[in-house]
């Protein structure tokens, strides 16, 4: 039930105040055209979930620099100075999460699990206010599942059925986010007739809309 859309159609699926997961690692595998399409709307007050803050002029960082984001959940924000500036001005709230925890929080929500039990972050500020559960004699932090209204995926190649595979390291968070959001829009560099069933990474039932174009 995939629908191939144009940039201008993206406006139908975004609105102010919504939560959006954006694929990519330091903008590698981020959907630049979808991000531009969101910037072309007037939505604001977004909660963004992404591995990092991107760069000031690249990746998800462009939404942050443009002041469209009120909350960012990420593992790293050091590459985008706009994040620090907006935090100091109290215009942006940032929740820093260990990268592996972030990946599993997203996966667990897509997998219908109640979050994860991880040793990561024990005895650090990350553990503050969280449940500690002992399993087989070892202590783990309970980190809750993370979902969002919309996923914007990048780094992909689609087939005519709407299946996706990813190119190189552009895979990163994209397949996890595809399963953890109500609406999933993928930006793809090309559309092939059919992806080998062994090579499909995100199966077509998880993709709602496809924008062709971009890297």
């Amino acid at each position: 039930m995939k629908e191939f859309i144009q940039s201008k159609d993206v406006a139908k699926y975004v609105k102010s105040g919504m939560s959006i997961m954006v694929g990519g690692f330091l903008s590698n595998g981020s959907p630049e055209n979808l991000i531009t399409a969101v910037l072309d709307t007037n939505v604001t007050d977004l909660t963004i979930i992404c591995n990092d803050g991107g760069y000031e002029d690249k990746g998800v960082g462009r939404l942050i620099s443009a002041g469209r984001v009120s909350k960012l959940i990420a593992s790293h924000i050091g590459t985008n100075p706009a994040v620090g500036r907006l935090m100091q001005d109290n215009k942006l709230t940032v929740k820093l999460v260990p990268q592996g925890t972030l990946a599993e929080q997203i996966r667990s929500s897509g997998a219908g699990l109640g979050g994860i039990l991880t040793p990561t972050g024990m005895n650090t500020v990350v553990a503050e206010g969280k449940q500690v559960i002992t399993v087989q004699g070892k202590e783990y932090l309970l980190e809750e599942p993370l979902k969002a209204d919309l996923a914007l995926l990048g780094g992909a190649i689609a087939d005519e059925y709407g299946n996706l595979r990813y190119r190189g390291t552009m895979r990163n968070f994209n397949p996890l986010m595809a399963m953890a959001c109500d609406i999933v829009i993928a930006e793809v560099s090309e559309v092939v007739k059919m992806i080998d069933p062994e090579m499909v990474v995100t199966a077509h039932p998880f993709v709602d809309y496809i924008l062709v174009g971009g890297q």
Partner: protein
């Protein structure tokens, strides 16, 4: 020899044949340049690759954990971020090499935040130090004369009691249950100079000249 080169060369000796290794950003990345080809060490990057090779002209498809364009070696593979951190957290990485701001007597590590000053985020570091079989800290011995190997970390922790080895331009220090053992000293320094530059107590049994920095 540049102090960073000294650290990188010395750490490269720690790898055994076939080891799966994750190198952090900064000095740790330099270690790759000094790995003996015969060691058949395989490098993993947390953004989803086993078998990362040298940097390259930008291709957009493949970046390293620092976001720089890189290559994949024969036999390598790509995967998503959840799989990547399963590898990391699951104890499948033999050694991780990471920078740090502070390390203490217990092997606790602080590396991801200087409150009020610099908040880059923990990225994948918290998972790496908890999950890797062996954690090697690569850092300069002091910050312009101020010791970084402390009785107790002052900055927020990346992890509690996880460092196994500390390699600086001055010395190689092993972290054991009973404290920090001074194993090797760079012949350019005396043992006393190392002790002076270290806040934590050092256990000194049988110190030898620092290996791997002859030429």
């Amino acid at each position: 020899m540049d102090e960073k080169v000294i650290i990188a060369k010395r750490i490269a000796l720690e790898f055994k044949k076939g080891y799966l290794v994750n190198l952090g950003i900064g000095i740790p990345t330099m270690v790759a340049d000094y790995i003996d080809h015969d060691q058949e060490v395989v490098l993993q990057c947390e953004n989803g690759i086993i078998g990362i090779g040298p940097l390259s002209e930008c291709t957009t498809e493949l970046v390293n954990a620092g976001g720089l364009c890189a290559t994949i070696l024969p036999g390598g593979s790509f995967f998503d971020s959840a799989t990547s951190f399963s590898i990391i957290r699951g104890g499948h990485v033999d050694v991780t090499v990471l920078g740090a701001l502070e390390v203490d007597f217990d092997g606790s590590i602080a590396s991801w935040i200087i409150p009020g000053k610099k908040v880059p985020g923990m990225g994948g570091a918290m998972d790496l130090v908890v999950g890797a079989k062996r954690v090697i800290i690569a850092m300069t011995h002091t910050n312009k004369g101020i010791p970084k190997i402390l009785k107790k970390c002052t900055l927020p922790l990346t992890a509690f009691k996880q460092a196994n080895l500390i390699v600086t331009e001055m010395a190689v220090i092993e972290v054991l249950e009973d404290g920090l053992h001074l194993l090797e000293v760079n012949p350019e320094y005396t043992i006393d100079q190392v002790i002076q530059a270290t806040e934590a107590n050092l256990i000194i049994d049988n110190v030898i000249p620092m290996k791997g920095i002859e030429q």
